[in-house]
Amino acid sequence: MRVDEITTRVRAKNAGPFRLTIDCFCADAADWRRLRAGLSAARVGEALGAAPDAVVRYELEALRVIKLSLPRPGVQGAIGDRDQHGAQWALVIGALELAAEER
């Protein structure tokens, strides 16, 4: 199962020019727990080219959100940057397959 099959929305956005933050919203507690178990900081780092220990993951149960913050894949506006606001990287995370139940 992919991340975008278990979330209502995956949102990526710059958190300043040097960092990217990704919010994965779930519809209910069961989906949120499944996402929490299946989407690690290391997997997100691997998908977007960040070292595993550079990715910070927040489990926000009240909001049913898993949030991931990491160094931006390239500084905003530098040569080679393709997306000034960093929004479309959400699709890369949405397409990730969830890992097996254990974290």
Binding site: K13, N14, A15, G16, P17, F18, R19, T21, D23, F25, A47, L48, A54, V56, Y58, L60, A62, L63, V65, K67, S69, P71, P73, V75, Q76, G77, A78, I79, G80, R82, D83, Q84, H85, Q88, W89, L91, V92, A95
Partner: protein, 502 residues
Amino acid sequence: MNGKPIVGSPADPAADPAADPAANPAVSASRRAGTRVLVPSGVLGLGFDRCALARGVALSPDIIAIDGGSTDSGPHYLGTATSKYSQAVIAGEWGELLDARHAAGVPLVIGSVGTCGTDNQVDALLDVTREWAERHGQPLRVATIRSEQQADALLARHADGAIQGLSASAASGEALRDALTHCTHIVALAGAEAFIEALATGADVVIAGRATDTALIAALPLARLGRDGAGARAAAAGAAAGAAWHAAKIAECGALCSTRPSSGVILVDIDREGFSVRALADQARCTPFTVSAHMLYENADPQVLVEPGGRLDVTAARYEAVDDATVRVTGSVWHDDSRYTLKLEGARPLGHQCSSLVLVREPRYVQRIEEWCALLELRIRRDIERHLKRDPDSVTLEIRRIGLDATLGALEFEHGTPVEVGILLIITAEQADTALDVARLANPWLLHLPLPDDEAMPSFAFPWSPAESVRGALHGFCLDHVVHIAHPTALLRIDSQDIGPR
């Protein structure tokens, strides 16, 4: 209002309303225990719901506060000290907010003017304000906060070890010296103390350069808690300051914390125990979800917000619906940092750019577009060497394939054959004329490059003439640092003046 401070001067011991509420007429005259802040929009230039703004004015706010900028549109604006919005739109909206300020009889505050918050953008909005004052025959006291920084002064502070990187990749040592030296513009993000000092001049209008989005909203409620000037930090810990900063963070993007983000207008009531946030447009609602979820937005840490002089922690915050449109928030806490810092932003030139776009619709070429692009790059590089007598590696060539993977590049995960492909060629060179020369020598290849086994001279579609666009100087953000300072307004220049008819 003109000349009568809404908050006391930092030098005035009677300014602490907690000590003696009657000592400050503007504070004690408030009809509420708390402070009511009207936020017309997330940013000046983006528009707002005019009925909702009028509703907000009728609700007797204590201050009207709006943000004017961000780094989010990229380094060009700080690099060139320009605004992303139309000046006509800015002048029109600012005039409407000056009208609203006049009707409400309260101060109007803006921070990060003109997208990047450089000094010239402060001056530009000051000119708009002066024209409004003359046209309406209204005298106004205007305070300005200038936060642009000179490289020399920061180099001296760097030599003293007062500039600190915020991440492992932030420049240090000689690389930081180099970055500071080469920035075209550097700004420091002013904190709430600067706005408190500006309001204490009795200003009707405060126009600030780069500042934190939250500082301009948090300033008045913090001032009324007695957090003014140099004495602010020692006293500022705790729930009351937490309420002010948290309210500011929720309201700084206007109605983005509501169900109708585009309506703009938000009202926050801030007291010592917490705050209430209300959307003012028709059908706009604030719910515990929309309000608490806003802490996620463009924020790396959803629970801790770092500000000059301290940090807001919302881990224990509680969000309760008061009615359909209003949410009450309590439980957030402010912690003072042991040292006061201002965040720095700087942009430096990275070269000059030209771009060209050609559209490939011929199916034989669409099917073999990767091969064609590889050939295109070889031809351009060969011609840079042959005709410009330059090392091709001295020029950066980017060939982006719109329709295949232009957005995600190597991270693209879906593959198929599109109907057509747009080939976007981006050239970056140290000199502007080199970038243009390369774009021109690439022109015939973009238009006519054949695959080796195809007809001699196919033609593809240029959407315009000339095919190349001169993008001008490219700038890059190069500071991810804070500077330690002894006093919250040490690197800022705060002035006030009376404008309009005497």
